[in-house]
């Protein structure tokens, strides 16, 4: 199959080319000393002027972390991480700007290079409004995180009018301490796992969203995370609370500049949905994956979990994972409320020497709870891609329903695709279904497309897009554009 080897070569040349967004911005940093101990935790807390209860909370997490072991069960391998050889606090040295105009111009230039939609009108200018309808384009509110501190929050007024709180979590600690205290750590407790404990001890910033009762958030909320300072682990903490009958769609995306050292990223995301509330959480993750030999790249060890606490509440996770050297991520739903719904849609791509071990957990507790899992894994180069998921049905979850579909696509003969689902059912009236397939792009599919005049690259793009379609259609339109771009960058001409 000469065409195959040719395309593999093309992929290699495409992916070995310089990382498109691999530039580096120099901004004066304010570092905490290297390493991790109780003093560093106190330093972070003091730096952020936190109340005593939060410092105590962090210290408790730190002490738990000391006794915990790094998980070894994921199907990923990497050299041991020296947690004492990293900085745990790095913030732009100037005071947080009040508006976009105050933002360090260098930072704005960085965003411009990234095409981040701070000016998303321009970004979307090419999109035609629907026929016969002059619809007002809803803007996206951006809480941009540059390294560890939130530096720009837009559209605040508009959101405030609705009673919505959208700010950095450090701001929330000062302005809405009762809410933060009530919910922080209730979904992902400090001692949940090794990385969550680490995050709880040293988290520097992240987003806080509160949607009051009955409010439908008028715009997509968006955060762009970036990792910028050399040797700075990033530990975001995001907390989203949707009160009864409210709705919110939250977008999270990230790109990172090229660098040589592995960087640790251990975020925690907590979602709480009350009666009839809906949270849609979408992620496009495109951190630096390392070079073709697997040097550098981000270690992405993330804990994301949602509590569907209310009846008829709904949480939908959608993720497109194209970046990072190692991804360890299981966005989960605990379906507590009767008739609550959990969804997980995922596309994960591993190329070169990337490794991904990702999936979800759906824990059915309430009656007639429903969950859907659709996972698409694409492995190319020497990538290793694992779906790992758990569907657990408690005895009380009468009439619960789960449908799981995991498909893997292999590109080239040096990669691996793995599926590890766990199904634990203790309820007679519950119904669970799981199916998984593994295949490659068939020669006849390629032949069919090429015969009709498509170039090999377009044909592959078409087929891969079709393979991921069920997931991509779940993304908000603004994100779908970027996601498709990323798929192309990750796999350009890559298939045989």
């Amino acid at each position: 199959m000469p065409a195959v080897s040719e395309t593999i070569e093309t992929v290699q040349s495409a992916t070995e080319g310089a990382y498109k967004w691999g530039f580096h911005t120099d901004i004066e940093m304010d570092y905490a000393p290297k390493g991790l101990n109780e003093d560093i935790v106190r330093f972070i807390s003091a730096k952020k002027n936190e109340p005593q209860w939060l410092l105590d909370w962090r210290l408790k997490a730190y002490r738990m972390w000391l006794k915990m072991e790094e998980p070894r069960w994921p199907a990923v391998s990497y050299p041991p991480i020296d947690y004492q050889d990293a900085y745990y606090y790095a913030a732009p040295s100037k005071a947080a700007p009040k508006s976009l105009a105050d933002v360090d111009p260098e930072l704005l230039r960085t965003y411009e290079k990234l095409g981040i939609p701070l000016k998303e009108q321009a970004w979307l200018a090419g999109v035609q409004p629907e026929e016969g309808e002059e619809r007002e384009r809803l803007p996206i509110a951006v809480d941009a995180v540059f390294d560890s501190v939130s530096v720009a929050t837009t559209f605040k007024d508009r959101l405030a009018k609705e009673g919505i709180i959208f700010c950095s979590i450090s701001e929330a600690v000062h302005n809405h301490p009762e809410l933060v205290r009530q919910y922080l750590g209730t979904v992902v407790p400090q001692g949940d796992n090794f990385y969550a404990a680490l995050n709880s001890a040293v988290f520097t910033d992240g987003s806080f969203v509160y949607i009051p009762k009955g409010v439908r958030c008028p715009m997509e909320l968006s955060t762009y995370f970036r990792i910028n300072a050399k040797s700075t682990g990033q530990f975001e903490r995001t907390l989203i609370i949707a009160e009864e009958g409210s709705r919110v769609s939250y977008l999270e995306g990230c790109t990172a500049p090229m660098r040589d050292e592995n960087q640790l990223h251990a975020a925690v995301v907590e979602l709480v949905a009350m009666d009839d509330a809906t949270i849609k959480y979408s992620t496009v993750q495109n951190w630096y994956p390392g070079d073709a030999e697997g040097r550098g790249g981000i270690y992405n060890f993330v804990t994301k979990r949602a509590h569907c606490r209310g009846a008829r509440s709904k949480v939908s996770w959608t993720q497109v994972e194209t970046g990072s050297a190692i991804t360890w991520k299981y966005p989960s739903c605990v379906l507590l409320g009767d008739d609550s719904v959990g969804e997980f849609y995922s596309v994960a791509i591993t190329n070169n020497r990337q490794q991904a071990d990702t999936g979800t957990k759906m824990i059915h507790v309430g009656k007639r709870t429903r969950s859907t899992i659709v996972s698409k894994g694409i492995s190319a180069g020497r990538g290793q891609n694992t779906y790992r998921g758990l569907v657990k049905v408690a005895p009380a979850a009468a009439g619960a329903r789960n449908y799981t579909q995991c498909d893997s696509l292999l590109i080239g003969d040096q990669c691996g695709a793995h599926t590890v689902p766990y199904i634990e059912n203790r309820c007679m009236t519950a119904k669970t279904e799981h199916e998984a397939t593994t295949s490659r792009i068939a020669d006849d599919q390629l032949f069919y497309c090429r015969q009709r005049g498509l170039s090999e690259e377009d044909a592959v793009g078409l087929i891969v897009n079709g393979f991921c379609r069920e997931v991509l259609k779940e993304l908000p339109m603004e994100f779908a554009v970027e996601a498709q771009k990323l798929l192309q960058i990750s796999l350009e001409g890559s298939v045989g």
């Binding site: 793995h418 590890v420 766990y422 119904k431 593994t438």
Partner: protein
């Protein structure tokens, strides 16, 4: 390791120390070496605990607590042996071969007892078993006394061989660890129907290990009817290696026992090999049965099919773990695995973990898993046509199991399985009434 597992492991090690000079093959250096290496492995691992991923859903604490003695072999009056199905039969009582109860005359292949033939079996015992990886295989290697040895010469059609394993009634818990060796030379065939039974009230551990070699173009049908006594532990491990163009069919029925583990490791090592692994777990009150399969596609152009069905009635727990590994050279692999569970009672539990690990790109691999109860609409449909409720339920359960039983190609083996399934169902109905 929990205290109980520790204690249980020490009991077995202690037994090994005591029996070492009396076990078969003690004067054969290679046997002594195998046993000693296994003892070192078992001392390090102990009885597996739930902290080990492969044992996540099956707890061996009860085995650790039991404190087993040597089996005092005897057959009580009135303890009938099941009827013969094939042209030949080998009977093992408490893991020891009984020539007086067996009927092996006139078979066209070599068959005998491991204890008797051990000195001729260097290189065959331990060829496939992995005591360093599976603690129960280590336990077996340490303590095996006997087993079945079958060698079917090239081109010979071996017909049907019955392997009967019977546990005798004992006051104190007993344990036996038979090692069975089956070799099919190129182009030969055999149907091996294995039945394991034991007394109604006896507590015993049956820990067999099979080492099965299927030669080029050979076919082995291996039907296993596990109908141990209701207080028994059966922890069995099957290792099979299939050469080019060979076929290994395994069907395992788990109907008896209190705590059962059926672990199968099959490797397809030659091009064009095939493997069918099917099974049914029919579980009643308090039973725990675990089927764990590992299918290793190591050569190109092989096909594998697995269908496992579990029916759960009250307070029972079923476990299925099935892993398919496709190695890099195993291009054009066609792998399929289905695992389905039917709940008949609200207080049962199923844990299912199908798993794919794939390193070759030109493959077709899929697995599926479903869990549910009897379909109310189907029941209604049957009852609307005048079929009584219990009969309708029986029909639907039977239909549910058909797909797995259908995969058994040998008619004798299939008949035996169907009879066992029917027997289980009528016992359930009797108990329910």
């Amino acid at each position: 390791m929990t205290a109980m597992q520790q204690k249980g492991a020490e009991g077995f090690l202690h037994r090994y120390e005591g029996l070492r000079e009396r076990l078969p093959g003690v004067r054969l250096p290679w046997v002594a070496a195998l046993r000693d290496v296994a003892a070192v492995a078992f001392r390090a691992s102990g009885l597996p605990t739930r902290r080990i991923e492969a044992w996540r859903y099956t707890d061996l604490r009860a085995v650790g607590e039991a404190g087993f003695d040597e089996a005092l072999t005897s057959l009580e009056d009135g303890q009938d042996l099941p009827a013969m199905r094939g042209s030949a039969r080998a009977v093992f009582l408490d893991g020891r071969f009984r020539a007086d109860l067996s009927d092996l005359d006139g078979v066209g292949y070599a068959v005998g007892s491991l204890a008797t033939e051990l000195r001729k079996l260097e290189g065959r015992v331990g060829a496939l078993a992995r005591p360093e990886e599976q603690p129960l295989a280590a336990l077996n290697t340490m303590l095996f006394e006997d087993g079945l040895v079958v060698t079917v010469p090239a081109g010979v059609e071996g017909g049907v061989l019955d392997l009967l394993s019977v546990a005798s009634p004992t006051e104190r818990p007993s344990a036996f660890h038979p090692r069975h060796l089956v070799r099919l030379e190129p182009g030969s065939s055999l149907t091996l129907i294995e039945t394991a039974t034991g007394p109604e009230d006896g507590r015993y551990l049956h820990n067999p290990v099979f080492e099965i070699e299927v030669g080029e173009g050979a076919t082995l049908n291996h039907a296993r009817l596990q109908q141990e006594g209701p207080r028994a532990f059966q922890l069995s491990t099957v290792y099979a290696r299939v050469a080019a163009g060979g076929t290994y069919d395994n069907f395992t029925l788990n109907a008896g026992g209190q705590l059962v583990r059926n672990e199968i490791h099959t490797a397809l090592v030659g091009p064009g090999g095939a493997c069918h692994m099917n099974g049914a777990q029919l579980l009643g009150p308090g039973q725990h049965a675990d089927t764990t399969t590992f299918l290793d596609h190591a050569a190109p152009d092989c096909a594998s099919r697995q269908t496992y069905k579990t029916v759960l009635s009250s307070k029972s727990r079923g476990v299925f773990q099935g892993k398919i590994l496709v190695r890099r050279p195993a291009q054009r692999t066609d792998g399929y695995q289905m695992n389905q569970t039917l709940f008949l009672s609200p207080d049962a539990e199923i844990d299912s973990k199908p798993q794919l690990e794939i390193y070759a790109d030109d493959v077709k691999c899929s697995h599926g898993a479903t869990v549910g109860e009897l379909d109310a609409e189907q029941l209604f449909y049957l009852r609307a046509r005048g079929i009584p409720g219990e009969r309708a339920r029986a029909m639907l359960v039977e239909a549910f199991l058909t797909e797995a039983v259908e995969g058994v190609s040998d008619p004798v083996a299939r008949g035996a399985l169907e009879a066992a399934v029917t027997g289980w169902w009528s016992r359930q109905m009797k108990d329910a009434a």
